[in-house]
Amino acid sequence: MRDGSIISYPLMRVILFAGAMACSSLAMGQTANAASGGAAVTILRSLSATQEESLDFGRILPAAQDGIVTVRPDGGTDCSGAMLCLGKGKPALFRLTGSDSPLLVSIDPAVAMMGPDAASLMVTLLPSGSVATASPAGASYAVGGQMVVTAGTPPGSYAGQYNISFEYQ
């Protein structure tokens, strides 16, 4: 939304009129002179970001060798090595509500997911891009991830959290 407007009130009109008179009187002693100024403002909607879907790597059966599992922001998944990836992983989805304006994305890509007995898995987040766009109805922004699953990774459920920030540019 880039249209702006100036609302004039009676007091402002008086001041502007007085200013115009002063300029006119100064100009009278010189050659004719004229100038115009522009004014603009962009009013933005308040911005909000809400996680609608969490990043899920699905279920993984480690193999004798290390493997890499990747969940891309577009929903595609890769499972390298001999390990077995079950239950299709899915990227995180955030709903961005605000104006149709570019947003700067800030995210720390390193996340530790904690599992049983203090075991952990390191995830490298794969955000859709460094710039996002919000919309009044809410626009989606996806975050994928990639991690190495070593042969000796203890079985169990792992979970971690990360922060992501969006700011109008």
């Binding site: 009676p10 933005l44 909607r45 308040s46 911005l47 909000s48 970001a49 809400t50 996680q51 969490s54 990043l55 899920d56 790597f57 699905g58 279920r59 993984i60 059966l61 480690p62 599992v69 077995l84 079950l86 239950g87 992983g89 995180a92 955030f94 961005l96 605000g98 996340v111 997911m113 599992g115 898995l121 995830v123 987040l125 975050v143 991830g145 991690m147 699953v149 990774t153 203890p154 079985p155 169990g156 459920s157 792992y158 979970a159 971690g160 959290q161 990360y162 922060n163 992501i164 920030s165 969006f166 700011e167 109008y168």
Partner: protein, 168 residues
């Protein structure tokens, strides 16, 4: 009081109301994201008991002996069956609360006496899938139907079969 004054007062009142509700428009927003994965343990399948048809005295006509999953036996016409019978049984250990599928790799096998004599067996299980317990445990049984030939040669017959358990 003019209409404009009234409007100005109204605007002031709205501003105060807004301040009281702490409505703060945001030019930036943060969200917390969650990341999850479940690492599964490799499935192990261990035989708990062999499928045992017991002892059979054949007759002049071919007949069958069936062992059900509850270890019960149905002895075919003309045969004499005795001795203890057991269904095949397997213990499964895997990831807690996961659903696994069960399959008999070779449901038709042959028992032999080590020589030239043999009998055919058809294997079956009613467990095609199951959900492992909270500790990752499960079990299933295998029933069998033995085809005893007419005047089947005496001896001890044996054979092997394989089962597979997989995560869904």
């Amino acid at each position: 009081m003019t209409n404009k004054s009234v409007q100005a007062l109204g605007l002031t009142a709205m501003l105060f109301a807004g301040a009281a509700l702490s409505i703060e428009p945001a030019h930036a927003a943060s969200a917390t994201g969650d990341a999850t994965v479940k690492i599964l343990r490799a499935i192990t399948v261990t035989k708990s008991s062999d499928l045992d048809f017991g002892k059979i005295v054949p007759s002049a006509a071919a007949a069958t002996v069936a062992i059900a999953e509850d270890n019960s036996r149905v002895c075919g016409s003309g045969l004499s069956c005795f001795g203890t019978t057991t269904a095949g049984a397997f213990a499964v250990v895997g990831a807690a609360n996961e659903t696994v599928t069960v399959a008999i790799d070779n449901p038709s096998i042959t028992l032999t006496d080590g020589g030239s004599n043999s009998m055919a067996v058809l294997l079956a299980t009613t467990t095609s899938a199951m959900t492992l317990s909270g500790t990752g445990d499960g079990s299933f049984k295998v029933a069998g139907t033995l085809n005893v030939g007419a005047n089947q040669a005496a001896g001890t017959y044996s054979g092997q079969y394989a089962v597979s358990v997989s995560y869904q």
